[in-house]
Amino acid sequence: MKLIFEESKSGRKSFNLPESDVNLKDFPGELSRSELNLPEVSELDLIRHFINLSRLNFSVDTQFYPLGSCTMKYNPKILEKAANIPEFLNLHPFLSILPDSIDRCKGALELISDFQDILCEITGMDYATINPMAGAHGELTGIMIISSYHKSRNSKRTKVIVPDSSHGTNPASASMVGYEVVTIPSNSEGEMDVDELKKHLDTDVAAVMMTCPNTLGLFEKNIKEISDLAHSVGALMYYDGANLNAIMGKVRPGDLGFDVIHVNVHKTFGTPHGGGGPGAGPVGVKKFLEDFLPIPRVKREGDSLVVVSNSDKSIGHISSFFGNFAVILKAYLYIKLLGTEGIKYSAEMAVLNANYVMNRLKGYLKLPYDRTCMHECVFSLSEMAKKGASALDFAKFLIDRGFHPPTIYFPLIVKEAFMIEPTETESKETLDKFIGAIIDAVKLAEQNPVAFKELPKTTVISRPDETKAAKDLVVKA
């Protein structure tokens, strides 16, 4: 499709502004901008452009999207409707800090407070903030809290420990807070190697960051031991909530010894991902870390709510106000819809679906860690790749069959990783069709692996040249 800039024609216009009811004044010339190049299109051409563009995407509403570690579950439509209620949509966040204006946004503050409480209840934490605007932003916030805590105790710590299976955001976040990152290898069970951990655990360690279940979809059976070990040297335990969907309602990170957590609400609480955000990464902490939470903060004081916008110990602002409030609103409604039993049931069905896919496919694909998985399972296509059909090839094959491909080449510790996360919202029929397609791909890999190179054939483009993109760097029209 043409770019909308190529569809532009001088003098066209989609939107009409109300006529000004005051006389127009000219802005001083010396402070004025140069020629502005924005598309000039009619409203119809604008709509047609974007609606047709949208049709080039796969999405949860149109396809199965088993993208491991991304939890592309169904996004209930009622959440969108709720987020569009004008009394929230048009609410200016400054009302939360303006003089005597708190009753102007009472409903919003109550929602935030309730969400914080419920998040704590689900995760086993004591206090929470909704300010971080994405999972990685929650990690950053969490590590800042940990750093501030250590500083408040005059404890100079320099390292953060992460497993080699961790999300890239973990080391990157630790690094942004000034920490040196120590990586611990996984053992043959796919878990953190406790002996290796012990070698690196000392009083220089500020935190151990864990994903649990980890990115192999495996529950870390030694997690409590690891917590105890970390705590014994004064290090804190950080819980990357990316995989909370697997255990919510079954066990709480707080009860496993974690001191700080973040949750990716799109992964766990049904909010849409939007093709790359907005997400939200609320953070929960144990009681002793309360003072370090970012500002502004909604806090219950007796029967009323207050907004704390100044606090000495706080890490300070990490967003202007309450992060992605409307995303939290959706997550809040989602949790309320599910209730305690729905939260737990969702985790159970997510895990059942992943194990079903794993068991049905393990006769066809190599399973590097052959044990009960949690909400996702990771295969290695290294043997297929030797035959000429890589994980990327499998991905393209699936696109032609109408499935969004699983995550490939992550986690890095599995060769030709092929990571399937079905989520709890998919039916057995969908899983069976997907499994059937993969079995077909396995057969094709055995019979005619070269055929993969021509795939996908059903899409508007096929196998774009990524090297050229990085070399030529055309990043605007």
Partner: protein, 440 residues
């Protein structure tokens, strides 16, 4: 309610494939802990859930109109913006890792990048950051990476909340941040210039300033460049319909809060931040970038590019930890900018400016002092002869939120920051001024 489709038979069959008797057997690796839910009750139906949110919404005791800006602005949002952003294929997709089934998102983001570059007169941008404040913080970190220097000079007429965010991002790192006092409410150019020595990585300013003043920073930018210092700015994108751009002033990294481009206020978010820079610095830029290329049939295609900078590949050596950004908000901004188009944005900016000038005139007629010494865009500081809080509360009792008293940010007790957008009618301006007249 829940969104799991399985029937009891499905579950039985699937358990049998998994070689377990019941689903709980799959959780045998987990320690058994009793969870005592007190706050979260039983699940409810969507009808009850929606009504619950509606009840909360109604608890917001709404104002009738307001003059609040201070970085977040109440602009008209064309209906096409919501319509496009609510398309299933846009809003329920993931990050476009698989280009073949994500050309919709990828092309839209490429168009977004183009629009933002054109708006700011700069060369490269990413597919969005979280918000205006964190974008500024990322720009500062970027300047430190580029220059390998360790000092940052920041003007105090930058949005105080953004300054706080920058401080939060920096305080765990071994860099020195120096904030430069303003002269009245205007930037003290001489003082800033004086601070710009060769240890400095960047100097940070905002235009229009937090107080609404528009300046031409070109001279200072040129001076900085002579010393190898980068110019980092924050800009209010709507103003760029009319105001001299960061690119024209030679700015190296421009950032901004994208909210005003088609995103509702929503009590704080979601919004998005943008960061635009010169092509030379693209490899130091955080966030996702969409690039154009060709596919195997030589057809034009869009992909995520330069991913090697990012956390999922580079891990702790990445340019940032950012993963999810605010893609859908960026899409809204694109649709917004296309909807207004080149002339519409200019017209919008001019209306904002003109209405703001009208209100300034009315306030001056009331004998009040406008504190800005410079041209303003759609926001300015008015000084009262009594505490601003008193004025604010009096108008609040009439359901009008009269701007942001600056004592909240350490400013004078008598100053209020007033914002006027195209939504504010002359009638309301006249009305609030006559209320004020009676009060003064």
């Amino acid at each position: 309610m829940n969104f799991c489709p399985h029937t009891q038979e499905d579950i039985k069959e699937m358990c049998s494939v998994c070689n377990v008797n019941e689903v709980d057997d799959l959780f045998k690796d987990l320690p058994v802990e009793e969870i005592n839910f007190k706050k979260l009750g039983k699940g409810i139906s969507e009808h009850e859930g929606y009504n619950h949110i509606l009840d909360l919404a109604k608890k917001n005791n709404l104002i009738s109109y307001h003059f609040i800006g201070a970085g977040l602005y109440d602009h008209i949002i064309p209906s096409v913006v919501d319509f496009v952003a609510s398309r299933s294929e846009f809003y329920t997709a993931y990050t476009p890792y698989q280009p073949e089934c994500s050309q919709g998102t990828l092309q839209a983001l490429f168009e977004y990048q183009t629009a933002i570059c054109n708006l700011t007169d700069l060369e490269v941008t990413n597919a969005s950051l979280y918000d205006g404040g964190t974008a500024l913080a990322e720009a500062v970190l970027m300047s430190l990476r580029i220059t390998r220097r360790e000092k940052i000079i920041m003007d105090k007429s930058v949005n105080p909340i953004y300054r706080n965010i920058v401080k939060t991002y920096l305080k765990f790192l071994p860099y020195e941040l120096i904030e430069v006092e303003t002269n009245g409410i205007e930037p003290d150019f001489d003082k800033i210039k004086f601070m710009l020595d060769s240890d400095v990585a960047c100097f940070v300013f905002q235009n229009p300033t937090f107080y609404g003043s528009v300046h031409d920073w070109t001279e200072l930018v040129n001076f900085a460049h002579e010393k190898g210092i980068l110019a980092v700015s924050s800009v209010y994108p709507i103003s760029l319909g009319i105001v001299k751009t960061p690119g024209q002033m030679g700015v190296d990294i421009a950032t901004g809060e994208g909210q005003s481009l088609g995103n509702p206020l929503s009590f704080g978010g979601p919004y998005f931040g943008f960061l635009v820079t010169k092509k030379a610095y693209i490899r130091n830029m955080p966030g996702r970038i969409v690039g154009e290329t060709l596919d195997r049939n030589n057809k034009k295609a869009y992909v995520l590019t330069l991913q090697a900078r990012e956390q999922h590949i580079k891990r702790h050596r990445a340019t940032s930890n950012i993963c999810s950004n605010e893609g859908l908000c960026a899409l809204r901004a694109l649709v917004y900018l296309c909807s207004l188009g080149k002339n519409g944005l200019k017209e919008l900016a001019q209306i904002n400016f003109s209405k703001s000038e009208y209100m300034k005139k009315k306030l001056i007629e009331l004998g009040l002092n406008i504190k800005n010494n410079a041209t303003t865009f759609n926001e300015f500081v008015v000084e009262f002869n009594k505490p601003a809080k008193e004025i604010f509360l009096a108008l609040l009792s009439k359901n009008i939120a009269f701007g942001v008293p600056l004592y909240l940010f350490g400013g004078s007790e008598k100053d209020i920051l007033i914002n006027i957008t195209e939504k504010m009618s002359k009638e309301k301006i006249d009305n609030v001024c006559s209320i004020l007249e009676a009060m003064l």
